[in-house]
């Protein structure tokens, strides 16, 4: 009796195991099919660089992020492919002895702020929600193109985060946190929509390794500056500026990147060796189990640089020479402008080309500005009456509280004096 019982139980267990394995095989088959349709090998590079701290004493986090931004730009990724999120309150901070600069080496050797920094999310726009929206692509339609991560299934993305962190979370601007589970879920959503080909995640915070523990999507390689339970330390203070300028891990990573040029063949194993415990005091960690290629075959420039695939054009098509060409008396607008960059839009029909008399009509338009009201008349206009809105919930609640306290203290008999 007991034997048949256990046998039947074993049979059901076996059946469920088989079913599950078939189910997973089927799921992985679907995954596989989808995988094969979108092949690996990248054609473009993106970088998302996030500094999650604000305030003057977190100078080093901004300097970290800007130095990585410089290296990535130097190695070829254009600004249109970099999403830079900074609190951006260092360069123009009243406590900055050298305004409009952010230095990364002491003795003010290298100004990483420069004059062509393009910050996409600054100040209070650096929130967990915006960061997750950038990653997953769920951005409101009014967002400009420079604030979007328009990656596709053949993009390699570099994500660099720095700030203050703890075991399993990263602090954003002293007011909110992102947990490692949220980050892993965001990467999974990116993977499901094939928004990346391969992803390199670098984090320079205290206990940084906890942030990559929960990743479960394929093709992610992660590096962190310290293990769980360890603090990442800063590098060197500058006596003139009065704060620490950089963190150790990023400092040594940048020294390493300085030797890389767009054509170099250095691979990821060298990046893993950067900043040993003797220099960094914390133990940097890395995670490569989700990554399909061997790290020694992965070039640094696969993520930090932007090397494009080019092909020589060997064929042409035959076009007929059109006889009716420059005989027309069309004057086109661009001849008149002398500026350095002229952008024209040519649609159908090419309405920027006019005959001579039409052009005079076009010139008439700017004169219409004279019809506008003069300033004196505008400032003496009566202000528009704003519509009256009933008081909001807060005001009502406040008054209700005040009245309640009054009656509680003095008794309900005073009501008749009010009403």
């Amino acid at each position: 009796m007991a034997v048949t019982d256990s046998l039947s139980r074993a049979a059901t267990v076996l059946a469920t195991v088989l079913l599950l394995s078939f189910g997973s095989v089927a799921a992985s088959h679907i995954e596989d099919q989808a995988e094969q349709f979108f092949r690996s090998g990248h054609t473009n590079n993106w970088a998302v660089l996030v500094c999650t701290s604000r305030f003057w004493f977190n100078y080093r986090h901004v300097a970290n992020t800007l130095s990585v931004y410089r290296s990535v730009k130097r190695l070829g990724i254009p600004d249109s492919h970099i999403v830079l999120m900074l609190a951006d309150d260092m360069a123009c901070n009243p406590r900055n002895p050298k305004p409009a600069t952010v230095f990364s080496h002491k003795n003010m050797e290298l100004n990483v702020y420069g004059d062509d920094v393009e910050v996409d999310y600054r100040s209070y726009e650096v929130t967990v929600e915006n960061f997750l929206r950038v990653l997953t692509g769920r951005i409101p339609p009014s967002t400009p193109r420079s604030k979007r991560l328009l990656s596709d299934d053949r993009s390699n993305i570099l994500i660099y985060m720095t700030g203050h962190g703890g075991n399993g979370f990263l602090k954003f601007q002293d007011s909110e946190e992102i947990t490692n589970i949220e980050l892993a879920d965001a990467f999974e959503q990116m993977w499901q929509k094939r928004r990346y080909n391969e992803l390199l995640f670098i984090i320079d915070t205290c206990q940084g390794a906890s942030m990559y523990e929960r990743f479960y999507s394929p093709n992610i390689m992660a590096l962190a500056s310290s293990q769980v339970g360890e603090d990442s330390l800063s590098h060197q203070p500058d006596p003139a500026i009065g704060v620490h300028l950089m963190d150790r891990y990023t400092f040594y990573v940048l020294e390493f990147l300085e030797e890389i040029n767009p054509a170099s063949q250095t691979n990821m194993n060298d990046l893993f060796q950067v900043c040993p415990k003797s220099l960094c005091v914390s133990t940097p960690g890395h995670r490569t189990d989700l990554f399909q290629r061997d790290p020694k075959n992965v070039l640094i420039t696969d993520f930090f640089g932007s090397v494009r695939k080019v092909e020589i054009t060997t064929e042409t098509i035959k076009l007929q020479q059109d006889s009716e060409i420059m005989e027309s008396s069309f004057k086109c607008f661009f001849e008149l402008s002398f500026s350095k960059q002229v952008i024209l839009t040519i649609g159908l029909p090419s309405y920027f080309c006019y005959k001579e008399d039409q052009m005079d009509e076009k010139l008439m338009e700017p004169l219409k500005y004279a019809e506008q009201l003069p300033v004196a008349q505008i400032i003496h206009q009566k202000p528009k009456l704003k519509d009256w809105h009933p008081p909001g919930g807060f005001i009502l609640g406040l008054w209700a509280l005040i009245i309640m306290v009054f009656f509680k203290t003095y008794g309900i008999k005073h009501m008749k004096f009010i009403f």
Binding site: R39, R133, R138, I181, K193, I312, I346
Partner: protein, 532 residues
Amino acid sequence: MAAAGAAATHLEVARGKRAALFFAAVAIVLGLPLWWKTTETYRASLPYSQISGLNALQLRLMVPVTVVFTRESVPLDDQEKLPFTVVHEREIPLKYKMKIKCRFQKAYRRALDHEEEALSSGSVQEAEAMLDEPQEQAEGSLTVYVISEHSSLLPQFCPPFGSMMESSPIPEEKQVQLSWEYRLPLFFDPQEPLTSLTPVSVGYEITFSLLNPDPKSHDVYWDIEGAVRRYVQPFLNALGAAGNFSVDSQILYYAMLGVNPRFDSASSSYYLDMHSLPHVINPVESRLGSSAASLYPVLNFLLYVPELAHSPLYIQDKDGAPVATNAFHSPRWGGIMVYNVDSKTYNASVLPVRVEVDMVRVMEVFLAQLRLLFGIAQPQLPPKCLLSGPTSEGLMTWELDRLLWARSVENLATATTTLTSLAQLLGKISNIVIKDDVASEVYKAVAAVQKSAEELASGHLASAFVASQEAVTSSELAFFDPSLLHLLYFPDDQKFAIYIPLFLPMAVPILLSLVKIFLETRKSWRKPEKTD
């Protein structure tokens, strides 16, 4: 007196018990479900079964083919067999183990009078012109004209529209069928991996830029508007079914290439070798302003007029020979062509020299690059077939058909994976909210995928493509809707930390009183037993 007091307390105790039980009942029966309902994430219903059914959708393409025999091409006894229809199915393997079932519905018929006239004319072009007029060819259909081997049209090129000339000495049905197997793969042979081509999108932005790094020496003038009007716009109109195109142009001064060209003393010219080409694009891209243009994928075509110090500049291929077109392209980005100023223009003139760009030569290269970027390439021709070159528009209808087929299939695959991923994500992450409008987009997308598959199966290519584009747009709208990110993740310990201060103070008295009631009831059950 004591009995009355005892009875009173007993009543009170009973009342108390009833009250406690009532509290507990209200809390459990009303409170728990109310709390559960109000804290669950809102999910409008989605057609999960249909979405999983989409994955197993077998794509079938139907191609209606008409084979027209002229009088001289078929012996009389065979002529009686006409007209008839044969349906022929075969599986065509695409890349990545995907297969599509292709149904060729072949209708054989005799040539009509005007067709006979057209086919007996002297040259292929006349024949084309006469055949083109009376009938409108539906997209995706194919007409084969079988002519006798003595016809004056041979040897000529295969005409450019969706028809082919074919001759066989003894046109038996079998032979014609054999030659079929040959020719039809022509149409379904993607040579490039589909994903290295320009991504499928509803619209594209094409930007022509003229780079003049040395305005002191060269005063470059290019009639881009005329060239666009004459050459590019007809091509884009022909390609119009594949998406909305918008064209921009700009001129950039003092824009250098990021690479220094090397001097070749043998030809006294400068050259860029193949390995330095990938590094040319990046420094220039930041100045192109393509990010400001639009949200559609941008294709950039650059014309670079090298500076006087580096003229003439040639691009070398891997064997070291200068490339005839002096141009290269990068998949998904665009193309660059180097335009060398004729050295004759420098003679005895004062700088800056006026340079008039030969737009025909430039547009030939740019349009060829545009074709390559879209995957329209010369197919491998089976023997005994000659192909005439593209028409003045630069695009043949069968090339467009091929593009539309490939794009439809790709669109359907994209839409299917998007919907499947959304369903999987909803299963994995329980905090995603699905609002009603997102759900309606999902329903629309599923319906569009099914419609597109049906249209492909019945051979209507144009409507299938439109439906597949709709499917992609709707599925992307649903997946990328900003409202899906509504709730951030709450790990379990945070959930407990929120609920315990609210529920524990209320739950502890209720539970304790229930326990007490239970114990008392059990005692009162046991008591009668004891006395018995």
